[in-house]
């Protein structure tokens, strides 16, 4: 590449290095929210998501997922959908929905699916890597199985999460999962449908991302 700016780096570093800055000596910490019981964690997770305008459905077990998906399809009259090719739930998505709507799988590179994703996909389905109870947050680690754009471009995103995946707060998640050892190319925290208050402080949903987020929590095996 034509751009060479090693001297810029050198000059900047020289200016910074001429200074000896002392670190503050006092150690502080911030107490992040902690649940007193798993029920409380789930309740906070649900309340925060609902407050952020997401729909939350809690199922007793994974067996109910198929019926739930079909019901949603009926209710919203989705015609076209996209889900990952791998991913924890992709088989359930296929079995439940293939007969009821046109379900595509994310098999090709994005470039080939771009037009379909932007123009003719009603809904996308994904699993989650984790959940954060404190803020009502879904954590997605997109991969070849479930690419980044699955949670971004269609007007509705349905995400499935197991209650055992929900931790109390963001700090806890980072330390428990050893995120400092390295991260996938993209990790995204999602806490509701896309929104904006840029016009006269009036909240509107579906600014650029999905206007609807449906979270299905599997509360059991």
């Amino acid at each position: 590449m034509a751009v060479s700016n090693s001297s810029a780096k050198q000059n900047i570093m020289q200016r910074l290095a001429a200074v000896s800055a002392l670190a503050p000596t006092n150690q502080t910490s911030a107490n992040a929210w902690q649940a007193s019981s798993p029920e409380q964690a789930l309740a906070r997770f649900e309340q925060s998501l609902v407050a952020a305008h997401a729909d939350v459905i809690i199922l007793e077990n994974a067996k109910q997922l198929s019926a739930c998906l079909q019901e949603l399809q009926q209710q919203h009259q989705w015609q076209t959908a996209l889900c990952g090719e791998g991913g924890e739930w992709s088989e359930v998505f296929s079995l439940a929905l293939a007969e009821h709507l046109q379900l595509n799988h994310f098999l090709q590179p994005f470039e080939q699916l771009k037009t379909a994703l932007f123009e003719s996909t009603d809904v996308t389905f994904t699993g989650c890597a984790a959940g954060i109870a404190d803020t009502g947050t879904l954590v997605l680690k997109p991969s070849a199985d479930e690419p980044r754009s699955l949670s971004l471009i269609a007007p509705c995103h349905v995400a499935v999460i197991k209650v055992s995946q929900i931790v109390d707060n963001f700090s806890q998640l980072i330390s428990e999962q050893h995120w400092h050892k390295g991260l996938p190319s993209n990790v995204v925290l999602i806490s509701g449908p896309s929104k904006t208050a840029d016009i006269q402080q009036t909240l509107a949903y579906g600014a650029h991302g999905p206007s609807q987020l449906i979270v299905i929590v599997i509360n059991g095996e």
Partner: protein, 487 residues
Amino acid sequence: MSVQHYYPSQFKQQASDALANQTLRSNFRGAMDYLQQKRKDAFSDPQELAQLREHAENIRQRCLSKLPQLLEQLEKNCQANGIQVHWAEDAKQAQQLIAELIQSQGATKVVKGKSMVTEEIELNQHLEGLGIECVESDMGEYIVQLAKETPSHIIMPAIHKNKQQVADLFKQHIKDFDYTLSVDKLIQTGREALRTKFKQAEVGISGVNFAVAETGTLCLVENEGNGRMTTTVPPVHIAVTGIEKVVEFLSDVPPLFSILTRSATGQHITTYFNMISGPRRAPERDGPSEVHLVLLDNGRSQAYADEALRKTLQCIRCGACMNHCPVYTRVGGHAYGTTYPGPIGKIISPHLQGLAQTSDLVTASSLCGACEEVCPVKIPIPSLLQRLRHDAKLPAAEQTPSLKGQASAASWTEHTAWRMWAWLSTHPSIYNWAMAVGVKLAKYLPMPMGEWTRCRNKPELASQTFHQTMKRRASKSVTRSATGGAR
């Protein structure tokens, strides 16, 4: 497209214009009341807030104390992740560098997600001159761009406009726009217009909220999803950030993120928190195939060199200081004529543009302290303003590096007046004589007295000096006590 220009050197005129604009004032008043209330609700427990602020301040100070090492570490880890790292000393270098990156792709269509640093380097105008279209994708910035303006707030760029004004703009610029004042429909209109742009874009440009040295990760905070679109859909992503945005550990991120969103808009979390640690990796199917990071100095190292001024760089750009500033809430963002308006703008702009341009800004404060009180990283903004006022008028103290534009606002008359006053005050007999004469002549003082009486009445001077009054009183009480004295 020529953007309407405001200049920091014309702050006084721009501020009076803004004060006379009733629509602008009511738009800002409404927005600021809303944001103040939202922040207040988000921090209902004062103890928790105090603890969180102290922690955030410590994190930022620790990271700044190791800035050179952290930048090296960030570069190394980003490169290991496949992110190409570039450095720019000033706005011009950054413009050229980014333009070359775009041109090396043969690209002419660019989308940009909210990034104040690219406003700072006036990237849009530069790219436009090269025949590259750069569309702002944040709803507020898109509106502002259509109006050929610049953002008036760092978090809510179109805060100075109401929905009528937005609808009128859309009518003027968007084909087949069905005139409406429904905010939902206006946003949908923007969404559709921008989707076309996202689809076509060859390069996406974004800012960075936190750059994590430990893992080589770029974090972006947003609600709309335009940041994710910008960094996911186009084949090339260029992130542009100031060198101060680096944090040491991933574990530094959650507390800063939490206090940022709560201070900014009173949200406990934003809709999206996007952590980018590299381009598309095989066998991934989407994401850009190239990611670049541009690290910009542009005067930040000047602030860094001085222990007090370094605190300016703790800023996490939440905007709380402007939302609570009695000056900003009245004159709005454009009057400042700088990319960053309000209190943070007053203390950072002198480093970016020099004191010669910005010396009026540092005086545009009543030093009420509201900004410092709400700042999540406890930047002592009022005392930094006082320091910069000093630097605008006088040479740097010994052992202190001189700032760009140091002493540029020095005035011979002011300086001489103070020198005379100092001399007079240390020579009591001449002082007393001069004062006695002074009060006699006071009634002949000209009216109006320049700036002083432009918005004040001329002060009524006493007919005697303070010393004369006290002397008289003393002699009276002596007489009184001599005659028994009680009332």
